[in-house]
C-alpha cells in the first residue's frame, strides 16, 4: 500500500496574526510554523498503516524552501520520504493542480489530507484534487480502515456519522477521530537523526494561472468591554440577552 500525506506548513495555533506591506502579507516574523493539525491526524493514521499493514508513506508539500523543516518533522515522525513542489502556494486550486501532477505519476493507493489548513481555512485542496483526478473522495473523515483494495470509512455528517465503503485509490479529508489526540507523536532524537538522511525530492511546479488573488487582510475590530453580571442577579442576564442583545 502506497500512501501520500499532504502536509500544509502553518503558523502555530498560538501565533500572533499580523500583516505587513500595507496589510497585504502575513507577518511571519517570530512565528513558529508547524504541521497543520488536521494533517497531523492524517499523518498519524498513515503511520499506523505503515506499522500494522506495511504501507510506505510519502509526505508532500507545495511550498518554497522555508517549508522544508516542516517536511523534515514529518519524516522524523516516521514518513519514508518527502516531496516538495517548489512554488509559493498561492491558492488552494493551484496547490491541488500541483498535487494532481505528482499523484498522476505516483501510483498511490490512498491520499490523506487534513480537511482544511488552519491558516487560510480554504478547505478545498483534497476535494479539488479528487475532482481533478476523478478519484473517490471522502471528506470530514473520522475513521479509516483498509483491506485489500477496499476501504471502510466513517464520515461525520451534520448530526451524526455515515459509514461508507470505497475502492482504492481514495482521497481523504481527515479530522480528529481519524486518530485520537493521545496517538499523536512527538519526534524523538532517533527519528530526527534518521529524518536527515531520508530522501526529500524537490520537483518543479507546473504552470497554472491564478484563479484567485489575495488583495489584502484586515483584523477584526476590537470589541467593547464585557458587561459583568452578578451571579446573584441572573434575571439581569436574561433581560440583557432578551432586550439588549435580542438573542433569546
Amino acid at each position: 500500500m502506497k500512501i501520500l500525506v499532504c502536509i500544509s506548513h502553518v503558523p502555530d495555533t498560538t501565533s500572533k496574526i499580523n500583516f505587513i506591506e500595507g496589510d497585504t502579507k502575513f507577518d511571519s516574523n517570530g512565528v513558529q510554523f508547524v504541521i497543520n493539525p488536521y494533517d497531523e491526524f492524517a499523518l498519524t493514521r498513515a503511520m499506523w498503516f505503515k506499522e500494522k499493514q506495511g504501507a510506505t508513506v510519502t509526505v508532500i508539500n507545495v511550498g518554497n524552501a522555508v517549508t522544508e523543516p516542516t517536511l523534515r518533522k514529518a519524516l522524523a515522525i516516521g514518513a519514508d520520504d518527502a516531496i516538495r513542489v517548489n512554488a509559493e502556494a498561492t491558492d488552494g486550486f493551484f496547490v491541488a493542480k500541483q498535487l494532481a501532477e505528482v499523484v498522476k505519476n505516483g501510483d498511490y493507493d490512498i491520499i490523506l489530507a487534513g480537511k482544511e489548513s488552519i491558516d487560510y481555512n480554504g478547505g478545498m485542496v483534497p476535494s479539488m484534487l479528487a475532482a481533478i483526478l476523478d478519484y473517490n473522495f471522502v471528506n470530514a473523515c473520522v475513521g479509516l480502515d483498509v483491506e485489500d483494495n477496499s476501504a471502510t470509512i466513517q464520515r461525520e455528517i451534520d448530526g451524526g456519522k455515515k459509514t461508507l465503503t470505497a475502492n482504492l485509490p481514495l482521497i481523504i479529508g481527515g479530522q480528529k477521530g481519524l486518530v485520537e489526540e493521545k496517538d499523536l507523536r512527538i519526534p524523538n532524537m532517533r527519528g530526527i537523526m534518521m529524518a536527515r538522511k531520508k530522501p526529500l525530492t524537490v520537483v518543479e511546479a507546473v504552470d497554472f494561472e491564478a484563479t484567485t488573488v489575495s488583495a489584502s487582510f484586515e483584523k477584526p475590530v476590537q470589541k467593547g468591554a464585557c458587561k459583568m453580571v452578578d451571579a446573584d442577579n441572573l434575571d439581569e442576564l436574561i433581560s440583557l440577552l432578551h432586550n439588549e442583545a435580542k438573542v433569546i
Binding site: 481555512n121 484586515e218 459583568m228 438573542v247
Partner: protein, 320 residues
Amino acid sequence: MSVLVYAESSEGKFKKVALEATSYGKKVAEQLGTNLVVLTINVDDTSALNAYGTEKIISVQNDALQNLNSKIVADIINQVAKKENSEVIIIDSSTNGISLAPMVAVYLNAGYASNVMAAPSNTNPFTVKRKAFSSKAFNHTEIKTQVKVIGLAKNSFGLVVNETNATTEKFSPSLLESSIAVASIDKTVGKVTISDADIVVSGGRGLKGPENWGMVEELAEVLGAATACSKPVSDLGWRPHSEHVGQTGKPVSSNLYIALGISGAIQHLAGVNSSKVKVVVNTDAEAPFFKAADYGVVGDAFEVVPKLIEKLKKFKSSNA
C-alpha cells in the same frame, strides 16, 4: 447570465443556510444586474424560496439522490450552471456544501473563495471578504476567472426578505457513476446540531467530569440550543469529538454562545469568536474568556447554571 444558488435541503426541507445563501444570491444578482436561479434537489414544496428573491427554481427529483454524494451533486450543479449560463455559483458551508463547492469550481474551471462573509465589495475585480486564520483575520480575495464559486459562511449575511414569484422548471440531470457506497447512517434525531444552531451551550474542563453534563443539556434544551465542548473535554472522552469546537474542531458562528467553565484559550476563542454574542460563566475573574465575551458572570457553574435554567424556564413560559 445568471447567479446560481444551490439550496441544500434535508428530508425535503430547506436548511436555514440554504435560505441565507438564497438571500445572498439575490444581492449578488442585483449587483451584477442579472437573475437569481436556485437549484433544489428532492424538495416538493419550494415555496419558502419565494420570500428571498428567487426568480427561477430548477427542481431536480430523483430517488437515486437520497444519499447525496458530493461528486454527483457537484456535477449536477455544474450541469445547471452551464445550462443557465451562471457566472456566480453560491454554496453554503454545511458539511456537504464545503465538500462539494471545490469540486464545482474544478468542473467549471472557476476561482473559488470559501468562508465568504459579505456581499462582494466590488464586482470588477470581483472581490469578496472571507474569514481566514480561524477568524483571527479577514482576507479580501479577488476571483479572477469569469465563472466564480462562493462558499458562504454560516450566519454571516442573514436572511433578507424579498418577495418574488418564482417560475419552476423541472430538470433531469445525467448522473455520474460513483463507487462509494453507503453502508450505514447513524444520525441522532431531534437534536440540534452545532452547524444548524442559533444558540450553542458549551462546557469546558471546569465542569469536572462527564457526569455533570446533565445541566448543560438541560440548559441547551430550555434554549433550543446545541451542546458543544472544549478540546480537552472531548480528548478526555467526556463528550464526543463531534462536539469539540475551536480552531481544530468545529467553528461556531451562532447568534449566542454560552461558555461554562471554559478558560478561553486562543485556540478555543479562534473557533467561536464569530458568534454574535458570547456569555461566559467562570469562577476565575481573570480567565481570558472575559476579554472576548459580551456578558460575563464570575461564579461557580454548578450554582449558576441550575439557577439560570429555572429562571429561563419562567422567562420562556411568560414570553411564550
